[in-house]
């Protein structure tokens, strides 16, 4: 019996909530979106998903080996990064883009900082932005959805956000598509990266995460709310030039970003107040980049920029502690 007894500091019970469980639930929450993307974009989408996920896991294993640290692929974080990365890539991405993305995400985005929990930026977004800047052609070649079994061949198409950007630049006026076809956008029947398409599937996943209390409502609400308010103001000022808030909401990567990328715990603030500020910043930057920037979509950049501001937000958003009404004795 000696030596079988454990001694530890209190408390002696645990909620059972573990990191790998959190990661697993987020992966489950992404399932609807991945399935929808496979439905609309077929085998290429599946290929991107597989390469990114397996690539991320492989690079994670490799770097743990190289650094002689404990193997961490079992916690599911690498697989999650892989899925998120895939959802941020166009379905037509060549295999080497996906693989390179996986390497950037895991090696530069995460492992050089010491692995899970230490990366200041969202690894999947780091990879996406590096790819977008390095390979603009491959990263902005989109295909129109060709639902499984429809027999339609994949053809090149522009994303709704891309199309209005070009149209506004050329004519100063919004094209037709900014005011109609919202039903299709909502279901995901449009061109875009894997995870940008189906607002419905992403919302389902996001609500699941909220219900499971994996994420809190603060970040998504303030992110999406800010986008609606800011884009709404512009729309009211000039409806002919600026698309309405609903268009902003269901096209592009807003839902994916708000529920799955901005809520990435590691790279976002830890306090509720911080999360609200973070979401606000993300929303504001997203609209500004979408309406005035050089890129049609601003979610990734907005989140990365706010990731950079996270340490400062945390620093200045410490909650007021109990009993700090008077000076210390």
């Amino acid at each position: 019996m000696d030596n079988q007894l454990y001694l530890s500091s209190s408390p002696h019970i645990h909620s059972g909530e573990t990191t790998d469980k959190v990661m697993r639930l987020v992966i489950y929450a992404l399932l609807p979106a991945t399935l929808v993307s496979i439905y609309f974009f077929g085998l290429p989408a599946l290929g991107v998903l597989l390469i990114c996920t397996l690539g991320c896991v492989a690079f994670e294993a490799l770097s743990c080996n190289l650094m002689k640290r404990e193997q961490t692929i079992a916690d599911g974080s690498a697989a999650l990064t892989g899925i998120l990365l895939a959802l941020n890539l166009p379905p037509s991405s060549p295999w080497w883009i996906s693989l390179l993305g996986a390497a950037i995400a895991i090696l530069i985005g995460k492992q050089v900082y010491g692995g899970l929990g230490y990366n200041p930026f969202n690894p999947a977004l780091v990879a996406r932005v590096v790819l977008l800047i390095s390979f603009p052609v491959q990263m902005t070649t989109w295909t129109a959805p060709a639902p499984l079994g429809s027999g339609v061949d994949a053809v090149t198409a522009a994303t709704p956000l891309g199309e209005i950007k070009t149209a506004v630049m050329l004519t100063g006026k919004l094209p037709e598509l900014a005011t109609s076809g919202f039903g299709d956008y909502f279901l995901g029947n449009m061109a875009g990266s894997l995870g940008e398409v189906s607002a419905l599937a992403l919302l389902l996943g996001g609500l699941f995460l909220l219900y499971k209390k994996i994420i809190s409502w603060h970040t998504p609400l303030s992110f999406i709310g800010t986008v609606i308010v800011v884009s709404g103001i512009f729309w009211l000022v000039d409806p002919a030039k600026y698309p309405n808030p609903l268009f902003h909401l269901i096209t592009g990567g807003l839902i994916l970003g708000a529920f799955f990328m901005a809520t990435d715990m590691v790279s976002s603030p830890v306090t509720y107040k911080g999360m609200l500020i973070f979401g606000f910043g993300c929303g504001l930057l997203t609209v500004l980049i979408r309406l005035f920037g050089g890129y049609p979509e601003g979610v990734s950049f907005a989140i990365l920029l706010m990731n950079a501001a996270t340490p400062l937000i945390d620093r200045y958003c410490r909650p007021k502690i109990y009993g700090q009404v008077e000076q210390k004795a």
């Binding site: 000696d2 030596n3 079988q4 007894l5 454990y6 001694l7 530890s8 500091s9």
Partner: protein
């Protein structure tokens, strides 16, 4: 050409005048020796001198408040440099290194309970005085290694701290952080040590450690002047230890070790033979 010279000269003159006035107005007195001493220090901010950091020590030395030979990490070179700056003579202190007086790793010593929690010796010590059955043995959780500013402490795979005598500068950080006082400072020239820290009776020690000192007196009988036994624990007398190594073979518990023949078993430093021999002679 002339305008060019005049213009530039004019600008320069105005700037110079402003600076001149400012230099008077915002003058701050600095002891140049303080900066020079700071320059000469190794900059590890280890605290071996007793000051919070190198700049504090530099100030103290320049003020004459502190002795110039307190910087152990810097060694004799630094001391000479400081002495030269201050224009005084300073005697280098005898180099000392830290020694972990324990060989009872997880395989050789027993634990009285299984510890769950923070990997820190001081935290573990608060739970029923630490998991090791031996009240003085190394807990092996690495607080000393984490505290060492010079990366001189190695934690072996089986949970024992071993101090690299080449890297150790004698700053005593590890000594102050160890909750079990198992690390002591000893002259670098003394390479033979009794690697045990248990003051329990021999019979008790045998129960929990395969390599603990049982206070059997054999070492003292072999080399009387070099050993001293107090509460069942042998210690080397560092002033007269020339022949201390002669008792190593005689020790029934194999707890006397001569670092000039390498590091204790289990250490990755072990292969580096005579790790301290030549240095100690120098």
């Amino acid at each position: 050409m002339l305008t060019a010279i005049l213009c530039l000269g004019g600008i320069g003159l105005i700037a110079a005048a402003t600076l001149g006035v400012a230099a008077k107005k915002f003058a701050v007195e600095v002891d140049p020796r303080e900066a020079a001493v700071l320059e000469a220090l190794p900059g590890a901010n280890c605290g071996a001198c007793g000051e919070p950091g190198c700049s504090g020590y530099a100030k103290g030395v320049a003020d004459g408040r502190l002795a110039p030979n307190l910087c152990t990490p810097g060694g004799s070179a630094t001391i000479e440099a400081i002495a030269a700056i201050l224009g005084i003579e300073a005697v280098a202190a005898e180099p000392r290194v830290a020694v972990v007086l324990c060989q009872g790793d997880n395989e050789k010593a027993t634990e009285k309970y299984r510890y769950l929690g923070m990997a820190d010796c001081n935290a573990a010590q608060k739970l029923a005085d630490g998991p090791k059955t031996c009240p003085g043995g190394c807990l092996g959780l690495g607080s000393c290694a984490a505290a060492c500013p010079f990366d001189a402490i190695e934690m072996t795979a089986s949970g024992l701290a071993v101090i690299n005598r080449d890297k150790c500068t004698g700053c005593e950080k590890c000594v102050s952080v160890c909750p079990r006082q198992v690390i002591v400072m000893a002259p670098k020239a003394s390479t033979t040590h009794v690697l045990c820290n248990s003051r329990d009776k021999g019979a008790q020690v045998r129960k929990y450690c395969q390599v603990g000192c049982i206070g059997c007196n054999i070492c003292k009988k072999t080399v009387p002047e070099a050993y001293q036994i107090e509460s069942f624990l042998a210690r080397v007398e560092y002033e007269q230890d020339e022949n201390a190594a002669a008792a190593i073979e005689k020790c029934p518990m194999k707890c006397i070790h001569d670092f000039s023949t390498g590091y204790p078993e289990g250490s990755r430093l072990g292969s580096k033979k005579a790790a301290s021999g030549e240095n100690a002679a120098a």
